[in-house]
Amino acid sequence: MGRFVARRLLQAIPTMFGIMLVSFILLRVSPADPVKLMVPSDTEITEADKDRLRAAFGLDKPLPVQFIDFTVQAATLDFGKSFYYHRPARDMIFERIPNSIQPVVLGLLVGVFLGIPLGFIAALNRGRRTDHGIRVTSVVLNATPDFFLGLLFVLFLAIQFKWFPIGSMNVVGVDCTLCWDRAWHLVGPVLLYANAGIAFYPRLIRTEVLEVLGQDFVRTARAKGLRERVVMSGHVLRNALIPVVTNFGGILTIVFAGNVIVERVFNWPGLGRLFFDSLIQKDYPIIQASLVMGAGLLLISYILRDITYALIDPRIKVR
C-alpha cells in the first residue's frame, strides 16, 4: 500500500507540471495585461509608471522566468500577493475555504443520504408507481440547470414568501457559524448542491442494484438462507456502491470548482466567486494559487479513490 501511494504521488508530479504549464500559457496569452485592466479609465498614467507597476508585480520578467517563479511558488505554496488586494493569495484562499466547505459537504451528505436510498427503493419497487415517480423526478431535476433552481428558490421562497434569506452566510449584524441563523442561510445552497446527488444517484443505484440482484451470488446468498437484510446490505448494496466511488473521484475538488454558480446565486462569499472575479481581473497570484491547489486536490482525490476501491471491492488489489 505504501509503495502504491508513493508511486502514484511520483506519477502526479509530471501531471501537475503539465497542468501548470498549460494554465500559465493560457493565462498569459489571453488579451490585455493586468496593469491595463487595473488602471481606471480617467487616470492619466505615464508609460514609465505602467512599467513600474509591471515590475512591482513581477510582470516585467521574461515569460520563462515568470514560469520558473511560478513553479518555485507552487513548491513552497507561497504564491505572492494579489494585485488588487495586496494580500498573500494563499491566505485569501485559506480564509475562504471554510466558507465554501460548509454547504458543499452538507450538500454532498444530503445528496448521498437521499439519493442512494431513493435508488434502492426504486430498484426494489421496479415497475411500480414509486419507481416511476422517483425516476421521473430525478430525470427532471437532472435536466434542470442549477442556477435556474437556485433562482426559483430565491424568487419564490426568499423574495415572495420570505421563508428563507435571499443569500449570504448570516443576517447583517450576526456573525456565527454554529447557529440557527447560519443553518437557515445554508438551506438554499445545500439543497442546490444536494440536487446533483438527488438527481443522479437514484438512477445510478437503481441500475446497479437491479444488475446485482440478478447476479448468481445474490441467488446463492438467498439460497443458503441468509436473511434478506443481510443479503441487501452485505451483498447487493456493497457491490452497487462501486460506481458511486468512481463518481466521487474528484470529490476534494468541489471545494474549488463547481462553486461559482451556487455562490453567485446565493451570494456566498466562497472560493468560486473569488476565483471567478480574479479571472476577470487577471489577478494572477490568486488564479495560479487556486489552480495549483485545485489540481493538487484533484490528484490526491484520485489516489484516495483508488484506495477506496480496494477497501470496498475485494477483487481490486492495490500493489
Partner: protein
C-alpha cells in the same frame, strides 16, 4: 458565465413580466426637485446597509484602483475639498480656503482650525505631505502622474531627497503650500487628495513607513493598516472588515461636519446586480443601485418599502469612436463621413428605448452637468436624418453600388466593423440598431462582440485595425480632457486611439490645462472651443450620459438628493432611520 448571467436576467424578467408596466420614458422627476420627507423629527441611532456589487479590495487609497474600495475608504480618508452638491464646484472641506496663484504655479490650502482625527490627534498639513510622499514611493499605485509637476517630485521618487521640496507645511500645520514646475489649472481639485484621493493619518502610518528616508525600497504598499484603517477624518470610523462580505463602520463623533445620527454604516458586497435587486426588495439593504431595465420591476414590487431616486449622470458618457486612421476603412478619415454616420443613427430613440429614458443625449465631450459644458445652442444636434447622411456621403465622394452599399473613392465597398464588449446588453443593442440604421444609408456594418479585455487591447492607437468601437468614458468632475483629445496622446496604449488631431483643439486644451490664465471664465472659453470642434469633427458619435438609478428604503430619512451627490452621500451625517 456571461451567457449564464444573461439567462439569469431573462428568467427574472419572465418571472416578473406579469407585474411589469410599460416603461414611462423620461417623465420621472429628477431628484433635484423631489420632495424630501422631512416632516418627522430626526432621531439618532440605527444602522444602514448599502449594497455594493463588487468586492472591496483594500481600505488604503494609495494602492486602491476600484470604485468599490474607494466607496469604502472615503468614509475614513477624505480629500481637502468637497464638490458642491448643487453645482459640482469646489467648496471648502477640510481646507477652509484654497487658492491657485495667478501664474498657476502655487497652490495654497488653509485648513480649518481644530480638525482632529477620530482618535483625537490633530489633523495637519503633515498628514497631507506624508500621503503625497507615500504615493511617490509606492510601486503599486496608479496615481503617481497626478503629482509629477510638483517641485522636487522626481528627486523624492528617485530617492535623491528625503522630502518633496515643493510641498511646504506652514503655520504649525495649518497651511499647505505646493509649488509646481509649470502652471496646472486642474491643480486645486487634482491635488486636494494628495494624489491618493484620501489623506492618511501620518501618526499611525509613520510607524510602518517613515517618509523621511531616501531608501526607495520601502513603502506603505503592504502593511496591516491597509486593511484596518486606524483613524478617520471622515463621517465614520472603521470597525470590522470581513473579506468578501462587508465592511462595518461606526459613527465618528469627532467628524468636523457634526457627528452622524446613524450609529453604524455597513457596505455589504453582493455577487451581482440581480442579488442587489433581491436585497432591496426584501429590505435587507437600505439602499442600492439598479439598471434601467430593472427600475419598473423594483418600483412595482417594492412600492411599499422603497423610494426611487434618479440622479443625472455627471461624469460619464457612451460613444462610438471612429478610427481616423483605420487601414480597412479609409473613409473614416473624412469628417463628412463621420458626420453622415452621426446623422444616420437615431440617438434620441436609443435613449428613449434602450435606456428607457434614463439618460440624456450628448453632443460633445464635456458632460452636461459640468461647469465647462459648452453653449448648447452652438452645437449641432445631428437629428436623425438618413437623407442628409446619404448626401454627406456623396459629397465626400462615395458612389452607390448595385448592392445598395456605397463605394468609397477607391472603389472599396463601405463595409466595416463596429465592436463592443460582450455581456453589456445596452451596448449590444446599440450595435444592432447601428447595424440596421447604417444599412439604410448604404454603409454595411459587421458587428463584433468581444470580451472587455480583448476590446481594451484592440482600441489602442498602435492598432489601426479597428474601425468603430462602442465604449464609455467615466471622467472626474475636472473638465481637463488632455489625455483623450490632445494629438500628442496617440502613442502606445494612450487614449486618443482615433488619432484625432486638430491644432486649434490642442491649443485650447493646453490653455485649459496649463493656462497661463487659469480663471474659470478663461477655462470655460477654452473648453467651449474644444467641444465645438469635437461636435463638428465628430471623431466620436457621442451618444448619451446615463442616469444613476438608486432605490432607498423608506425608513432612511434625511437624504437630500442633489445633482452632484451620486458618488457619495454628501450629507450622510444627517441621515437617520425612522423606526
Amino acid at each position: 458565465m456571461r451567457r449564464y448571467l444573461a439567462i439569469l436576467g431573462a428568467v427574472l424578467l419572465v418571472a416578473t413580466a406579469c407585474s411589469q408596466q410599460p416603461p414611462t420614458g423620461g417623465q420621472e422627476p429628477t431628484t433635484a426637485g423631489a420632495p424630501v420627507a422631512a416632516a418627522d423629527k430626526p432621531v439618532a441611532g440605527g444602522r444602514i446597509v448599502e449594497g455594493a456589487i463588487s468586492d472591496i479590495k483594500t481600505l488604503q487609497p494609495v494602492i486602491s484602483t476600484d470604485t468599490a474600495s474607494s466607496g469604502a475608504w472615503s468614509s475614513f480618508y477624505t480629500s481637502l475639498l468637497r464638490s458642491n452638491p448643487d453645482t459640482g464646484d469646489l467648496e471648502p472641506g477640510l481646507a477652509e480656503k484654497f487658492e491657485l496663484s495667478k501664474d498657476g504655479l502655487t497652490v495654497t490650502y488653509t485648513l480649518r482650525s481644530g480638525l482632529v482625527w477620530s482618535d483625537g490627534q490633530p489633523f495637519t498639513g503633515e498628514d497631507y505631505k506624508y500621503t503625497a510622499e507615500a504615493v511617490a514611493r509606492s510601486p503599486k499605485t496608479v496615481r503617481k502622474s497626478t503629482l509629477q509637476d510638483v517641485v522636487g517630485w522626481k528627486d523624492y521618487v528617485d530617492g535623491k531627497a528625503d522630502e518633496v521640496k515643493g510641498i511646504q507645511v506652514k503655520e504649525s500645520g495649518r497651511v499647505i503650500e505646493i509649488s509646481l514646475t509649470k502652471a496646472f489649472c486642474p491643480a486645486l481639485r487634482n491635488l486636494s487628495g494628495a494624489g491618493a484621493g484620501g489623506i492618511l493619518p501620518k501618526h499611525h502610518f509613520v510607524k510602518v513607513w517613515n517618509n523621511k528616508t531616501t531608501d526607495t525600497k520601502t513603502n506603505i504598499d503592504d502593511n496591516p493598516l491597509n486593511i484596518a484603517p486606524p483613524a478617520s477624518i471622515g463621517p465614520f470610523v472603521f470597525k470590522e472588515w470581513k473579506p468578501g462580505v462587508q465592511v462595518t463602520m461606526t459613527r465618528n463623533d469627532k467628524y468636523y461636519r457634526g457627528a452622524p445620527l446613524l450609529d453604524e454604516y455597513i457596505i455589504k458586497v453582493y455577487a451581482d446586480q440581480v442579488a442587489v435587486k433581491a436585497a432591496l426588495l426584501t429590505g435587507e439593504i437600505s439602499y442600492g443601485g439598479v439598471q434601467p431595465a430593472d427600475v419598473e420591476e423594483v418600483k412595482t414590487a417594492g412600492s411599499e418599502i422603497l423610494n426611487f431616486h434618479r440622479f443625472p449622470g455627471v461624469s460619464s458618457y457612451v460613444f462610438i469612436s471612429w478610427n481616423g486612421k483605420a487601414t480597412k476603412a479609409p473613409w473614416l478619415g473624412d469628417k463628412r463621413v463621420r458626420q453622415a454616420l452621426t446623422y444616420g443613427l437615431d440617438v434620441s430613440s436609443i435613449v428613449k428605448n434602450v435606456l428607457l429614458g434614463y439618460g440624456v443625449q450628448v453632443y460633445a465631450h464635456t458632460p452636461k452637468a459640468s461647469w465647462a459644458y459648452p453653449d448648447e445652442s452652438k452645437l449641432t444636434k445631428y437629428a436623425f436624418d438618413q437623407k442628409k447622411a446619404k448626401e454627406l456621403l456623396e459629397q465626400a465622394g462615395a458612389k452607390m453600388g448595385p448592392d445598395g452599399v456605397y463605394r468609397w473613392t477607391n472603389g472599396q465597398p463601405m463595409q466595416m466593423r463596429i465592436e463592443t464588449n460582450q455581456g453589456n446588453k445596452v451596448r449590444e443593442t446599440i450595435l444592432q440598431i447601428a447595424q440596421e440604421q447604417y444599412k439604410a444609408i448604404g454603409v454595411k456594418i459587421d458587428p463584433l462582440l468581444e470580451s472587455f479585455p480583448a476590446l481594451l487591447d484592440r482600441s489602442v492607437p498602435q492598432n489601426l485595425d479597428h474601425e468603430g468601437v462602442i465604449l464609455g468614458w467615466s471622467l472626474g468632475l475636472e473638465p481637463d480632457m488632455y489625455s483623450i483629445w490632445h494629438s500628442g496622446q496617440s502613442g502606445k496604449d494612450q487614449f486618443n486611439w482615433v488619432h484625432y488631431s486638430n491644432p486649434e483643439v490642442d491649443k485650447a486644451i493646453e490653455a485649459g490645462r496649463n493656462g497661463p490664465d487659469c480663471s474659470t471664465p478663461a477655462r470655460k472659453a477654452a473648453y467651449n472651443t474644444v467641444n465645438q470642434h469635437l461636435n463638428a469633427d465628430v471623431p466620436y458619435t457621442f451618444l448619451y450620459t446615463g442616469d444613476s438609478l438608486v432605490f432607498f428604503n423608506k425608513a432612511v430619512r434625511g437624504i437630500e438628493p442633489k445633482p452632484y451627490s451620486t458618488a457619495s452621500a454628501w450629507n450622510i451625517e444627517k441621515w437617520w432611520l425612522k423606526r
